[in-house]
Symmetry: C2
């Protein structure tokens, strides 16, 4: 089913890439698209590219392409900045929409930068706000009318545990809570439908399952029913109603445009635009089905051949995103040994090895080979080699 | 003197590009550098590129290259985000360093996004802060001990008027004011020395005189004497002391690293890195001298041949940056007519046409030709043609 999409990506010889939840591989079309942006557009149009090559509209045009993959209506998603900045925008806006409450609820499974950005925001605001962190399974029980905003990452970056976004959003709304969902580990990995879930804000990065390249721009979704009430804290000129009137006072633009801040990253957007072509004609339900199949194959193979590895992901595929994690005390060294043998996954402190199953470019044969290589390493205790001990790593 | 640097840029046939203060032209080396980033690095190293290709350190490594051009010591500049975000970081930090005061002083010549970002910040803080705007020439007289922070753009984006950064900084410091300088229109245009001026914070973009490409990342400088006291409001994971420990609480990193926020824009940084090669072996004093010479040539030519155009820039070259502006009621249409004839400058509402003189790729012959084309258009009143009336534009 995915043999055509596999051709869209460059994968180095001998590599089985199970780390698309950190950084998706190079889409072949990105080379040409970026070269054409440089030579054909920047080189020839120069400043005129902003209007004549559509650079100025790229954040919303590409936002609509991402929006399709997360169930967002046209005109409700815009690209720009980094996920950290988009979290800041979403949470600061959410708090303003719920002025009488002082608690932001999140969980200990959230990606740290989401929590850090909120901590910085709350310190700035200095108005008695509290970031309340509970265990992931305690979130539902903590949704009461003291909570202003709920900030959750749908899929846990370490374990792949999947939050029930529809039910938690509904429960949050019943308690008058504004919701902010981080889709970093779910957009492009599974069917997400922000509109039918009625989420308020959603944010995400595009360098993981969306294959936009290292440091690719982030996205933000704001529910159309809310966007005109949002007052941006990061009120940059491209979120202004009339950026080119050069007025001295800020007045927010219409709709999702107000979530724009500074000048858009045109080169990076071109790479992302090319990467999104891989989704043309792809049904996210098929992606999810195949991802689950590959994940189940991997879990079964590892559990039967590598009993030292303990499944750290939920066993039930309905409770997981597109990654599978195992815990192993020597996880760091194990991952180094795997990478040396061409199986690229990821390590997350203190003891998690994680593997993403991305059907656009990974198939059953890859998974079979990966299990075999992992089993060989475990059998030979190859992680014990000193060459695999130096610590570095990136999400 | 600059014939070698001129070869480093691609300029379309028949174009005289006097808009390097909006978007610098394509450096030829950027093609190869970006292609190699995509194919040789992202494509082959995948996630390993973060460490093995130096992506993670690129913001400080390239920051040091920019730092050289603005007189900043090694380790005091970092790249990332957009200028708008960097303004927010600098001003929010400045206010925290001066907790007893409630006025931010700026001028009506500042670029709007700087003012907008401060307006958003102050609205969020909601603690009685005021953004006080005075005319540019009134800044010096308004520096008193009620002012917490001074936020100025060194060179006015419309008129090219140059603030006296050394003297204003000194005067501000004498009144206990923390200074934030926006170098968007001076970095790469003239000798800037943030260290000898003893400025506290400096920010800027890199897509103008530094030729980094559309939407290239911004920079921020923090004086080394201050940086360890700065508490980032935008506290992202890459500003954390140990980003890969994935702790739940933010703790700021050492030195300038704390001004990092999210994942760095690696592709855009590669283009910028290539663009900065053009400065190797170039003395900024020579750039400034030649820019003044070209500017004087242009003013003299225009004033003698086009008396309808009124100089809007300071007449004294010591009071100007590297751009020359004229006011003309039909400025928008005039600029359209100029562009149609291959002379690319810029229009700024309500009536300013502006031209940048960038010796890296513009010489006396270009200026002579530009004057001739402008004089022809004025003589024939060609701006009156209806084809030149549709309004769009980008800084």
């Amino acid at each position: 089913m995915f043999s055509a999409t596999r051709q869209r990506f460059h994968l180095p010889d001998g590599v089985i890439y199970l780390d698309g939840n950190s950084l998706g591989p190079l889409p072949v079309a990105a080379r040409e698209k970026v070269a054409s942006l440089l030579d054909g557009q920047w080189g020839e149009y120069l400043i005129r590219g902003w209007n004549q090559c559509g650079w100025m509209d790229a954040p919303t045009r590409i936002g609509d392409r991402v929006g399709k993959l997360i169930g967002a209506p046209v005109g409700s998603v815009v690209m720009g900045d980094t996920l950290s900045i988009k979290v800041y925008q979403a949470v600061s806006s959410a708090l303003e929409l719920n002025p009488g409450r002082r608690i932001i609820l999140s969980d200990t499974g959230n990606f740290p930068t989401d929590l850090y950005m909120v901590q910085g925001l709350l310190r700035s605001l200095d108005r008695g706000y509290t970031l309340k962190l509970v265990e992931p399974e305690e979130v539902a029980g903590a949704l009461d009318d003291s909570v202003a905003a709920l900030l959750l990452t749908q899929v846990d970056y370490r374990t792949g545990r999947l939050h029930d976004m529809p039910s938690l959003t509904q429960k949050a709304h019943a308690a008058g809570i504004v919701t902010v969902w981080d889709l970093a580990h779910s957009a492009g990995a599974m069917a997400v439908d922000v509109a039918s879930c009625d989420v308020d804000f959603a944010v995400g990065c595009t360098y993981k399952y969306l294959n936009g390249g290292p440091g690719a721009p982030a996205f933000i979704y704001v529910a159309p029913r809310l966007v005109d009430r949002v007052r941006p804290a990061l009120s940059g000129w491209l979120g202004h109603a009339e950026p080119f009137a050069f007025e001295l006072s800020y007045a927010s633009g219409a709709g999702i445009d107000r979530m724009r801040v500074g000048t858009p990253p045109v080169i990076a957007l071109a790479a992302l635009d090319a990467a999104l072509d891989a989704w043309d004609g792809v049904d996210m339900a098929d992606v999810r089905r195949m991802s689950v199949e590959l994940s189940e194959q991997f879990i079964a193979g590892v559990e039967s051949q590598c009993p030292e590895l303990v499944l750290a992901s939920p066993r039930n595929s309905e409770d997981r995103g597109s990654q599978v994690s195992f815990s192993f005390a020597e996880g760091f060294a194990l991952m180094q040994a795997l990478i040396a043998d061409g199986v690229i996954g990821d390590f997350r402190a203190p003891d998690i090895v994680r593997f993403a199953f991305t059907p656009l470019y990974i198939d059953r044969h890859d998974v079979t080979r990966a299990i075999g290589i992992l089993a060989d390493i475990m059998r030979d205790r190859r992680w014990e080699s000193t060459q695999f001990q130096t610590r570095t790593g990136v999400t």
